[in-house]
């Protein structure tokens, strides 16, 4: 009995020892090494699933889509899940538009993450997954992705810009507002089963993506289409080195249309040459020529150096100053300020400048925004070039008065002319109306008052005479509306110094209706090979402006002025004379 009891005791002791061992092991695994094994398990089954944010759209002021996203899929492979690469390739190849041997080679890997193909259409991707499920195969997975599409192609390309393969903006609004457009990627911690499917019950921490904001531009695509068509026609007809046109609202500074040639298709930006990528409206500076005469005229009037009745002797077309002869296109005697602008007299403008103090004149140039960036939200804007008085020589002042020895950008010229149109206030160019839903439109505030409303009004009235039979731009007329504006014809600067013979940048900057301007336009044609006798702002740029403005006022439904209604009833000459 004793022996039996001893044996039972021994067995019990052994059992106790064994179960104590088991218990210890259990405590060791579940308690002491809990964190370590949890991490190991999480590494094996738990992954951080990125939830991409949708890139915001770019819209015009009326909600027309200018940049959108096309959802596509990126197909990836997990080599550890692939048992028969050839069979999988045979099923998937047609959906991925690849050959079976090519795909088989890519799938013959043990790496857990291999990108097989990007930008696979949703239909093909889902078709592939269904075919794989039917064949009982696994190893290929889908990731969400999107490609950016610009439905209008080349239209507005310089404003919109484009994005690179990583989805980041490279140019235009895409670059400048990349942060707002891109949004914030979200994530979800998930666990998956051995087939790679998510186990929804074990979903962990989740952060939803912050979708990119839709950007609403001030651009009106109706006007943009008009501008593009006319600029395109000019570019094809005259074959200039470049052409630029801008339409703006002079009262708010909103840019309504902006087009440059040469241009490119942002859907295929890789094929574009560097000169096509340049937004000439903000990256190119040019000598403005006579359009710059508005600066000296308003400055001299505003300072009281001349008044509406002052007459300036224009030396009958040849003025000797600083050892050089300054010439006018036609000889003139005494001219008023209004006539100086109408006839675009270089001598009259130079004499007004000479009456002003250097610093005062320079101050006005700067007050118009020349020599500084306008702050338009586009990449690559330059400041232009305005030398301070201490760097002037004897001729600089007279040259600046007629738009030489100074370099401006087209957008600066639009804003300067807008300030004459709106009563003397310099506006900041506005290209973005809102960023995402709920973001209100910002209040429009002028940058500064450049000249008094009276001065601006007088010069605006004088600019109406430019667009008359006596002025330099009768071809800028728009039937039914009074137009005010100024032509510019400037010789191109040679890279070696001096000017290039027979090569010109011609422009016309104008606004309408002249009394209550609603539309400001600038047309620049750079180096059209048409011969010196025809290459004038009034002959080349002004007609383009007229065509653009004629269609734009009808598009905007601006009521024709009453004078024209009279003209239609037979008093054309009387009515037209009354508007100038």
């Amino acid at each position: 009995m004793k022996g039996t009891g001893g044996r039972i005791g021994l067995v019990c002791a052994l059992m106790v020892l064994i179960f104590t061992g088991f218990a210890w092991r259990l405590i060791n695994l579940q308690v002491l090494q809990h964190d370590y094994f949890s991490l190991k398990a999480a590494e094996k089954h738990s992954i951080r699933l990125a939830i991409p944010a949708r890139r915001g759209r770019i819209l015009d002021r009326n909600g027309e889509e200018l940049a959108v996203n096309i959802p596509v899929r990126t197909v990836t492979a997990d080599g550890t899940h692939i048992h028969d690469a050839a069979a999988l390739a045979a099923v998937a190849a047609s959906f991925l538009e690849m050959t079976v041997p090519e795909l088989t080679q890519k799938l013959s890997t043990k790496r857990p993450y291999v990108v097989i193909r990007k930008t696979v259409s949703e239909e093909n991707a889902q078709g592939m997954i269904r075919a794989m499920e039917k064949a009982g195969l696994r190893g290929l997975y889908l990731e969400e992705d999107a490609v950016r599409s610009y439905p209008n192609g080349e239209m507005l390309c310089h404003v919109l810009g484009f994005i690179d393969h990583t989805g980041h903006g490279i140019d235009g609004i895409e670059k400048m507002l990349d942060g707002e457009l891109a949004g914030q990627e979200g994530f979800r911690m998930i666990e998956h089963d051995r087939k790679g499917r998510e186990i929804v019950v074990y979903r962990g921490q989740e952060q939803l993506p912050e979708q990119g904001a839709d950007i609403r531009l001030s651009i009106d695509m109706g006007l943009q289409a008009i501008v593009e068509k006319e600029v395109d026609a000019t570019y094809k007809e005259l074959h200039p080195a470049g052409a630029t046109a801008i339409l703006a609202d002079p009262n708010t500074g909103e840019i309504l249309a902006m087009a440059c040639r040469p241009n490119y298709d942002p859907n295929h930006f890789n094929e574009a040459k560097p000169e096509q990528l340049r937004n000439r409206a903000i990256t190119d500076m040019y000598e403005p020529g006579s359009t710059f005469k508005i600066v000296v005229a308003t400055a001299a009037l505003n300072e009281g150096i001349v008044d509406e009745k002052s007459r300036i002797y224009c030396e009958n077309g040849a003025f000797s100053y600083g050892g050089k002869i300054l010439k006018d296109h036609h000889g003139n005697g005494d001219l008023s300020v209004s006539e100086i602008l109408m006839k675009s007299s270089n001598i009259g403008s130079a004499k007004m400048a000479l009456r002003m103090k250097d610093n005062s004149y320079y101050d006005y140039v700067r007050r118009y925004g020349f020599g500084e960036k306008t702050g338009i939200p586009l990449h690559g804007e330059i400041s232009g070039l305005v030398n301070p008085p201490h760097r002037w020589d004897m001729l600089t002042k007279t040259r600046m008065a007629m738009g030489q020895s100074v370099a401006v950008t087209p957008i600066q010229m639009v804003m300067a002319m807008s300030s004459v149109a709106n009563g003397g206030k310099l506006m900041k160019p506005r290209l973005v109306l809102s960023k995402g839903e709920g973001s209100g439109t910002q209040e429009v505030t002028p940058v500064r008052e450049v000249v008094s409303a009276k001065t601006a009004g007088f010069v605006a009235a004088a600019l109406q005479r430019v667009v008359s039979d006596q002025g330099t731009a009768p071809l800028a007329r728009v039937e039914g509306y009074t137009v005010a504006g100024k032509t510019g014809t400037a010789q191109k600067i040679s890279p070696r110094g001096g000017y290039l013979d027979g090569r010109y940048i011609v422009s016309f900057a104008g606004f309408l209706p002249a009394d209550k301007p609603k539309l400001m336009g600038l047309v620049i044609v750079d180096d059209a090979p048409i011969g010196s006798s025809a290459n004038y702002g009034g002959l080349v740029a002004a007609p383009v402006f007229s065509k653009i403005a004629s269609r734009a006022v009808r598009y905007l439904d601006l009521p024709p002025e009453s004078a024209v209604v009279m003209a239609q009833s037979g008093n054309a000459s009387t009515a037209r004379a009354g508007t100038h």
Binding site: N62, V68, S149, E198, V201, K518, L556
Partner: protein
Amino acid sequence: MNKNRRRTTNSLEVNVLARVIIGAFLVGMAALFFVYLKNQQHAVGNQARLTEAALREAQAKNEGLKARITAMTSRGALQRRLDEGYIKLDAIRDTAIARVTPAVAAEEDGVLRTASRDPASRFGPGAPQRTINR
């Protein structure tokens, strides 16, 4: 003998046994119910996953179709169609246009608008009520 046998036989306590059996049954049922619920949870989770995938697929298809519509109706596309002669623009002379409403000058509300976006000339549910005087 009978006496001894009676002494060594334990009486069956039905109440206790019933309680144990019922307790075990309840625990067993609870465990089974837990397993059932867990299975249901997984099944519902799986359904949710499939529904989410279907929703994503539908959304992606919708986005794709919207992008295609945008591309096909964009100004560039319409211009191309116009150039190719698939569509045609007929000019309407000024004299052939009957203006339903007077032109709205922009300064009245500070908004630049086209004729087609003039709220007064819009038809449909959003159009303002008109009174027709005969």
